[in-house]
Symmetry: C2
Subunit: 423 residues, 2 copies
């Protein structure tokens, strides 16, 4: 079995070559991955069955088993995703900026692959193919380390990728999967900053925290989403109803769903009972602050008393925490304090509080009169995404192919020297 160090060294070697491959060659390899995946679907599914059996014996939840399970239909969907990545524009080599300096130097800032990316994820085996495709397309070698529950599935997918790379004249080391579910292998990988340029952990907060605390490689984090809807005193109440319900209930299990609702005091008496009923009808549990609770109580609406930590909790469930604020400034301060700097919304018809909110809320995405649920790479027109960064360095918000890139400066001269030339 290859050691993690060998894998990382081979990835580094392969990355230099991959970085200069033309789009056509990368696309050919992507198409082969999709084809081989479908050809070998039976084998992948049989290996997936072994993982599912183990998972059942270990007593994994139904939701976890569903995430883990592959079917012919799911495999078709994964293959379709690879073809879509294939169709995207290749970001590598794009000239981002250029200038001619007074001394005649021609400077070009050119988009390049990052190099070697390590991706650490949990149960979903579709991540294996999705991430491999995005990294290949953006010219990055990748090292994938999936969860132990999907071990056999991932090894079968590793074979698919290796066959496809070989068949299209690419180095198999462009995509490698760590062939062990051992945590010590992860620990080893996280220290190999000489060979790996970036780590992207995809999974729960515990996994991300572990990676951050143990990695000497830069990490692009995808932490939780504690998103807030703020209904301003100048809100159109119908728009506020529609956007609050969509942000909270359209898909409560994802990071861009709303977890908090805060309402301007001037309209709370009228607006809160109305939205509370709409949410309660959709099975949403209401957790209200003292002030918000007093209003709900007077209207005879059931609620739970909120503790302070409720306002910084990611429920990813049909629960919403509710509070009242005295001004747009208070709303901004509330969100910067309790939110997770992900996606936040102001509902208002007035430009002034809206612009104040858009400027003052320190989040990756700030909305004026639109659902928080739009924060993703597809909705932004990126065509794909590897995740949603909650970091402020490198990439913030949805990460597409461009965000999987770095850049270099190419400088063309005709003999320019910093000092006086010697002849």
């Amino acid at each position: 079995m290859d050691s993690v160090l060998q894998i990382a060294k081979r990835a580094r070697e392969a990355s230099y070559n991959l970085a200069t491959r033309p789009a056509e060659m990368k696309n050919l390899a992507l198409k082969r991955i999709a084809e081989v995946l479908v050809e070998r679907a039976d084998h992948v599914i049989s290996q997936n069955a072994i993982d599912l059996e183990h998972a059942k014996n270990k007593g994994l939840s139904k939701a976890m088993l569903e995430r883990l399970a592959l079917s012919h239909e799911k495999i078709q969907g994964i293959a379709k995703g690879v073809y879509e990545v294939c169709d995207l524009h290749d970001p590598v080599g794009e000239i981002m900026e250029s200038a001619v300096r007074p001394n005649g130097l021609k400077i070009e800032k050119v988009r390049t692959p990052i190099g070697v990316i390590g991706i650490i994820y949990e149960s979903r085996p579709n991540v294996t193919i999705d991430c491999a495709a995005l990294c290949l397309k953006s010219g990055n070698a990748c090292i994938l380390r999936g969860g132990s529950e999907a071990f056999n599935t991932n090894m079968a997918l590793a074979e698919v990728i290796a066959i496809a790379l070989k068949g299209s004249g690419m180095d198999e080391a462009c995509v490698q999967i760590i062939p062990t579910a051992d945590r010590s292998a992860l620990n080893e990988l996280l220290k190999l900053d000489q060979y790996v340029d970036c780590i992207i952990p995809r999974g729960g907060e515990g996994l991300i925290r572990f990676v951050v605390e143990n990695s000497t490689i830069p990490v692009v984090k995808h932490y939780k989403g504690v998103c807030t809807v703020y209904v301003d005193k100048f809100a159109n109440p119908v728009t506020a109803d529609i956007l609050t319900v969509d942000s909270k209930t359209q898909r409560p299990s994802v990071c861009n769903a709303a977890e908090n609702l805060i309402v301007h005091a001037d309209i709370a008496e009228k607006f809160l009972p109305q939205i509370a009923k709409l949410l309660a009808e959709r099975g949403v549990e209401l957790r209200a602050s003292e002030r918000a609770g007093a209003i709900l109580k007077r209207s005879g609406i059931e609620f739970v008393k909120a503790a302070e930590e409720d306002f910084s909790t990611e429920y990813i469930d049909l629960i919403i925490a509710i509070d009242i604020v005295g001004s747009v400034d208070d709303a901004i301060a509330f969100i910067n304090k309790y939110g997770s700097h992900h996606s936040d919304l102001i509902v208002t018809e007035a430009r002034e509080p809206a612009e104040k909110f858009l400027n003052g809320v320190d989040s990756a995405t700030v909305y004026w009169n639109a659902s928080t649920r739009f924060t993703d790479g597809f909705e932004f027109g990126f065509g794909a995404e590897i995740g949603i960064s909650t970091d402020k360095l490198h990439a913030r918000g949805p990460m597409g192919l461009k965000e999987l890139c770095s850049y270099k400066y190419k400088i063309r001269g005709d003999g320019q020297t910093k000092g006086k030339p010697i002849m």
Copy 2:
């Protein structure tokens, strides 16, 4: 004395306000810093004298003492630098990209400050004012932690900054200096990822390594520069002489000076003796590989035999390691293996090897026929720089005001929902 935790919390609070301050207000504060610095120069110099006295007693080298020492002239120079930062364009609020999506959502990608930046540096006290100015201008709160040798100087500079901030209506917490030279304070700071967004260490490899290994906050690294000059077989030998001498000797103590010279085998017999003489005349020690040494020997030129590690050593001194390669591909492989991905040069008159080199060398800055010494923010037209990143995430190469920024997405809608609207 304030704890590091209190400092970090206050910086985070101040950062929200600072992020929305207009350029005029930030410029006013910058001008006050320059003015107060000059007004209080005597006091700063008297505190600096205490540090110098300690440093002499501790037996610091002459070079270190020179770096530490402040004079009225140096202080004038630092103040001038602050005025120059003042005159630069404010990057905050720039619209980097914008799009209207098919559903009518207007998406703007807007440049924002990063938030709170921690800067860890060693002896030079000018870094205190330079970094404070760059962070303020880019809307970032900063926490500065200088070296113990400059402790009294830095505390006097902290007073200067505090007086200036107060006098211009800004929160003093926008720039804070950790008031202890204790290493435990640094350790504590490096774990406060809840309050600090980014760490920039400026100093030797040991300091940077310490920060990388102990920080849970993202670090933008400024590692060493092992830069290589490659003289291709199609090089104009005069251009090659001029550029090799400038890259190596114009200022050997800096990271963008060349440390390696590699020459195409086809021209080595003729070119090597000629450049070796020019370098030796300028006091440069030559460390030659076996093949390169054989040629030098035949010409009767003195040299030292190079060990493999010489080719990945940052001398920052009048020493150069020399080898011979068989092709531009070998040159690229040599640089990617031994170099530090900083600044590398090909000297050639032929476009094909030049473009191959510019694409294939995995460095922040790659030159065709110009000295490696141009890698800095001033030469690139940034107007200022906080350093030269050797990272590939966030910023690569010279870091100016733009590279001290993050971005956010502002999205303006008119009630768009992801699901079917409820009414």
